[in-house]
Amino acid sequence: MRDVAIISLGQTDHARERNDVNDVEMLMPVLADAMKAANITKDRVDFVCSGSSDYLAGQGFSFVTTLDAFGPWPPISESHVDMDGAWALYEAWVKMQSGHADISLIYAYGRSSPGDIRRVMSRQLDPYYTAPLWADPVSLAALQARAGLEAGSFTEEQMAEVVAASRRNAKANPHAQLSGDAEAKALLDEDYFVSPLHKHDCPPITDGAACVIIAAGDVARELSDRPAWIRGFDHRIEPNALGVRDLTTSVSTRQAADKAQVAAGGVDVAEIHAPFSHQELILRDALGLGDDVSINPSGGALAANPIMAAGLIRLGEAAARIGRGEADRALGHATSGVCLQQNLVCVLEGE
């Protein structure tokens, strides 16, 4: 395998609504920040890969126009996934393995404010049985949380602890949308939003974007003092139909973690893409993380959830901990689909 490392991350200051800019205007400074941090100009980028969703934008082929934020001239080599940018990073990593690129720029963006996000997200369900019910992601996450609580997999107190930790950690993250000192006990006293979920168990509605740059071998060493080398990378998917899988566990995460060799060497820090509080508990278990692992020091998706970028940000944040010398082995995780249907695990190491 060719050594490839994450060398920089750029992201927006995530907000409830960015109606002051269009997608291109939102992306330009993020790409510029990431390239500046990687000490490169755009002529050094061999491959561009992006992740976004036309359903969020409410426009067909919206990703084509946002390429303007990079400036695709002279003609560039690029690709796009209608997935979280973490999967765009995976595609770029595969491309790097082929030897056809030494530096790749990956960006992802999503704004949830233009549409009714709960209705929009219901369109990812199967069109025959579930989508006509307009089952929304909050209600489906509540089903999953209920199943987990009834099975004894976790408690409401543990869910509140996840939220309190996220808010606390996010105080050190200048890009976070939600942060602060919240006591788990006080959180439990709040009204239910969609039982058994309180509003704080759900991700904020976010407009935002992120950009990650990866480089191979000596190019990464040239550009970064401490590259975060990708040592394990895998993603797995489960059926879309909710009735055919056990919602209280995450088989696909466990399999991806096995393939990415999370257990071999353990990790110091894990950035887990868990939009709902109980999902962090399910994922921690599936990833086999012990109590000594620092979980979501950025605050995670409960602190800011730019859909399509939130997973890519987890990988970038995990790499940034290595870059700053705060960790030697880190895990980045991304999820997609309903109730943790699809999961990606990336293991990163410093030298």
Partner: protein, 173 residues
Amino acid sequence: MSEITLPARLDDLEMVKSIRTPARLEYDYMPGAAPSRFLQGVAQKRLLGQRCPVCRKVYVPARGCCPTDGVPTEEEVELPHVGTVTSFCVVNVQFYGQVMELPYVSALILLDGSDIPLMHLIQEVDAREVHMGQRVEAVWVPDDEIGPTLESIKYFRPTGEPDAAWDTYKDNV
């Protein structure tokens, strides 16, 4: 593929051949900073473009970014209301929602001092006389009807000037 055999208890049931599951989603579309600036200009009967600091091209309407260089186009440039037809089509076919009388002409018009044409209508001239290189000017709706929309320009019409030289618009056809 082998034949699918249904259980006997389903023998008398009619097969579902199709279903209808209507879906409707509504969005509030945000034009962004640069397009908003352009539309606000139109509401004041002004045509505002933006210049790229790298390649110096002027875009109108601007989207806030040079699509070649990937940098913000922050320098505002006020453009005249006259330009050159770089390409056009004569619409002869009726379609649903049509408001124009046939035949009519849609054209790409390169405003003087800009580097990308904008699309608008050509009127006050026989459709057969519209041609590439023709010089045209904007005709605005009455002042009390002007708003932040390109419909504030009713159409463009020939100025009667001699045709523009090919070199002045050859990069925009």
